[in-house]
Symmetry: C2
Subunit: 225 residues, 2 copies
């Protein structure tokens, strides 16, 4: 499949790399490709610059958001939640229309320090905001409940774990579930319409505190029944 | 141990019954014991009236909130989250002072229908509200992330699962962890101070949607690492 991944951070790199490994044609979208590639400093999390990752993934093209979205059959939003509406706006509603958008982002607000709060929750969600802003896109929330390395390689953990999908379009969810299963996930729970994205997004505060208590982001929840 | 359980609903009954079964001296607190025992109708969830349960648990005394709290070494708040501050106020700050309070409640707001939203979250939590209102009490948030039957009998599920404790007092948390482990839990994660209660409380929206998707409340999360 031709897949666009919007976002050049750890989530975008992990997903783009895994999709390319699985044989998809992957394009990464960014605001300004030359500026992204020109960066030589690690980011604020200490991750190496994008150019270092890109050198190891030569088949993945880096292009402006709009070009990535225009050429894709499916789009993955892997950017900062706070920038989601802006980045998707740059990708262009026309370029996204009729396509499946897997939204992995979280509405994290770091303005008051760490741990972050959520800038939308309880009676709304970022998934719903995106769906309302882009009504012609089939938004599927998914994979926002675990760290990038576990997201694309769940076998790194000591057993089966659960991930969630939320969205209004059943066919779009089936496509996303197929992709998620191709990463190695074997327990994908469909929570319902995009309004159910409030659940996985509001899990983030627990995830952050569990990460702190466990001393590692290498974990995920399993719904044991 | 002498333990007071405040609340006569399903959570209060499950916890009081299990504690009595484990050999503790258990007193259930309610607003008006005669009124509670006089009810003959099922509650709005279809559960039998308290008197039916009480007939099967004759060693558990039913007394007013204040009497329950006064005679207890440890207090469990198992009531409706929306009524927590009022019920604890009736129990009496003096009767609670210096004691461990295990708060199992959730800040669920059913005023706009189902699924409920949270009446406090993100930058505060019900656990923190209770701790602020009763500064001389050692509040420990715990067991609010699973249904009553699983709470007191985790072996009903198909494997080990994780529960959480949050609180400012380490000794109080150790006491609560001991009680929780006596129920059969083998993975109790200490998230930190009472402010970390925002995590387990904000998990409820996901729990509610997972219950809907799974068609049962008989599940719990395991943090697989």
């Amino acid at each position: 499949m031709n897949i666009a991944v919007l976002g050049t951070g750890m989530v975008g790199r992990a997903v783009a790399g895994r999709l390319a490994e699985l044989g998809h044609t992957v394009t990464v979208g960014t605001r300004d490709p030359q500026a992204t590639l020109a960066r030589t400093e690690p980011d604020r999390m200490g991750n190496p610059p994008f150019a270092t990752w890109h050198a190891d993934h030569p088949t993945v093209k880096l292009v402006p958001f709009a070009d990535a979205a225009a050429g894709a059959e499916l789009v993955v939003f892997a950017g900062n939640g706070a920038a989601a509406l802006d980045m998707l706006g740059q990708a262009g509603a026309d370029n996204l229309a009729g396509k499946v958008l897997l939204d992995i982002s979280n509405p994290l607000d770091f303005s008051a320090g760490y741990p972050p709060t959520l800038f939308v929750d309880n009676t709304d969600s970022l998934g719903e905001q995106i769906q309302r802003a882009f009504p012609d896109v089939m938004v599927v929330k998914g994979l926002n409940t675990l760290s990038a390395p576990v997201m694309v390689n769940p076998s790194a953990l000591g057993g089966s774990t659960t991930v969630f999908v939320c969205g209004n379009d059943s066919a779009a969810k089936a496509t996303v579930v197929g992709l998620i299963e191709s990463f190695g996930h074997d327990d994908v729970l469909d929570l319902g319409g995009i309004d159910t994205a409030r659940g996985p997004e509001m899990y983030l505060p627990l995830w952050l505190r569990a990460m702190n208590a466990l001393g590692t982001p290498m974990f995920n929840l399993k719904l044991v029944r």
